[in-house]
Amino acid sequence: MKTLLAFLKKELTEQLRSGRVLFLGILFVLFGIMNPAVAKLTPWLMEQLADTLAESGMTVTEVNITAMDSWVQFFKNIPMALIAFVLLESSIFTKEYRSGTLILSLTKGLERYKVVAAKSTVLILLWSVGYWLCYAITYAYNAYYWDNDIAKSLPHSALVWWVFGLWVISLTVLFSTLCTANTGVLVGTGGVVLVSTVLGMIPKVSKFLPTLLTDGNSLIYGQKSPKDYTAALVITGATAVAALTVSIVRFNKKQL
């Protein structure tokens, strides 16, 4: 346990000193503020565009903005935050393969699974803190300007998206142990998400796929209920755990 904590501390220090924590902090706070800001500015934007729209035959009537618009923005923006997160962290293993820094740690008797465990923990921690910070900021602004009660099953919709993020992290870790360069990590992770998205177009299988968890809008509008997500949640959780298990097995045999 002591050795795991020591490696975890090293990972956190690295994230801090390399400026990644600062970057991710700014990113998630910015997205958190942007969601309500864009919603708040929509009427003004429409007003500015009214003349142009009138010329093309559209009339702008009174625009009624609610917390709903802000939450729709939230689910529209959070994928971008996740992409930025994965791009930034895709080298968390590969950078060490390239520089050879892990060799000295491992020849000191550090068990290999602890490397996977520490790096996964740091990724999960950063994603969780960033994601819920973004959520809390949007929630607070929405509560101030409008009323959050209008969005149905809000905590659940936020929770399933967070789980989707964890699933993507497990894929990043898996491909980090399978590949040696971070291009491989990005292509692998992106590829699996893409396959899940494409398969999601088939109605019969869509409810079992991890990408269903990104559909927060259907939940807040009440088109779907939390129990419609149960199957996808279980499968996502199971595949994430499987991915991390395979990562450990694979990393134990990896030639460094």
Binding site: K9, T13, E14, T101, I103, L104, T107, L110, R112, Q255
Partner: protein, 299 residues
């Protein structure tokens, strides 16, 4: 007791067979010079000992325990310095040693004490910059400090001096000499003068196997051609000697070299004495590692 025993080690990369049944024995408390040309398989051998490479065949015992690839428990006996050691550039030298102690499961107080001792030994006590700004020599010295932190029984250094300037080389060799009391040192190199300076034992690696191994003295006597160098003060004397012993070769200046297998040394000395030839010098020619190495790789 042998600190390291390798028998029949084989390793192939694609169609290139790097190690073809390598046998090596490193006795305890020796400074062992592992000599070979670039690409001879020195690093492959060392990485196999550390369990970082999966060997295709053979057995490696460290302190009597078998080395297993992947989760390598025998590494607790080993301190390792790679040829180009890389550290986390965002840490300072003391921070890195503290990290090494912690992941090696060392006691915190023991780590601090050892850290200060070793930073003193390698001359990095006053260094406050992060490792990212270190020169090659400084990294090499920090590399030795981290390798020695847990008081390993075996210190493995992969070409520790190859990339350094003469001053840096001297510093590293002095440190290796200084730690001899504490540990067995195995270091690979192709710089033969380094070996002659500090090693007690050597092995020549060529063509994927160890061709010759033993203590420096043993090897020298085995390869020693038993030659004597004779120097006199005039050309006339030289001609007199070569006239009597045609097998004696001319050296530089007024020197002659006589090989014992062609011309018994005492006969030459007898001739010198009988003809009252003044001797400037009479000495036994010590074979150099270089000549021995050349002989090994040419055979």
């Amino acid at each position: 007791m042998d600190m390291l025993r390798i028998s029949g080690l084989r390793k192939r990369f694609g169609d290139k067979e790097v190690l073809r049944g390598l046998d090596l024995t490193v006795p305890e408390n020796s400074i062992f010079g592992f000599i070979g040309q670039n690409g001879a398989g020195k690093t492959t051998t060392m990485k196999s000992v550390l369990g970082l490479l999966k060997a295709d065949g053979g057995e490696i015992l460290v302190n009597g325990e078998r080395v297993v690839y992947g989760q390598t428990a025998t590494n607790r006996h080993i301190g390792y310095l790679p040829d180009v050691p890389e550290f986390y550039s965002f840490m300072t030298a003391p921070e890195y040693l503290d990290f090494c102690g912690a992941i090696g499961g060392m006691d915190k107080r023991e780590t601090s004490k050892r850290r200060d001792e070793l930073l003193e030994l390698v001359g990095l006590r006053e260094e406050t910059h992060r490792v990212g700004g270190f020169s090659r020599g400084m990294k090499q010295r920090l590399g030795i400090a981290q390798a020695l932190l847990a008081r390993p029984k075996l210190l493995i250094c992969d070409e520790p001096t190859s990339a350094l300037d003469p001053l840096g080389r001297k510093e590293i060799l002095d440190i290796l000499l200084a730690v001899r009391e504490q540990t067995t040192v195995l270091f690979s190199t192709h710089i033969l003068t380094d070996v002659e300076r500090i090693c007690t034992d050597v092995a020549f690696l060529h063509g994927g196997t160890v061709r010759v191994q033993g203590t420096l003295g043993e090897i020298k006597s085995r390869f020693g051609q038993d030659e004597y160098l004779l120097e006199t003060d005039s050309e006339a004397h030289l001609t007199a000697i070569t006239g009597a012993f045609p097998a004696v070769r001319r050296g530089t200046g007024n020197q002659l070299i006589c090989s014992v297998k062609d011309t018994p040394a005492f006969e030459v000395l007898g001739f010198v004495s009988a003809h009252r030839i003044p001797l400037v010098k009479w000495e036994r020619v010590e074979p150099t590692l270089e000549t021995m190495f050349m002989e090994v790789i040419e055979s």
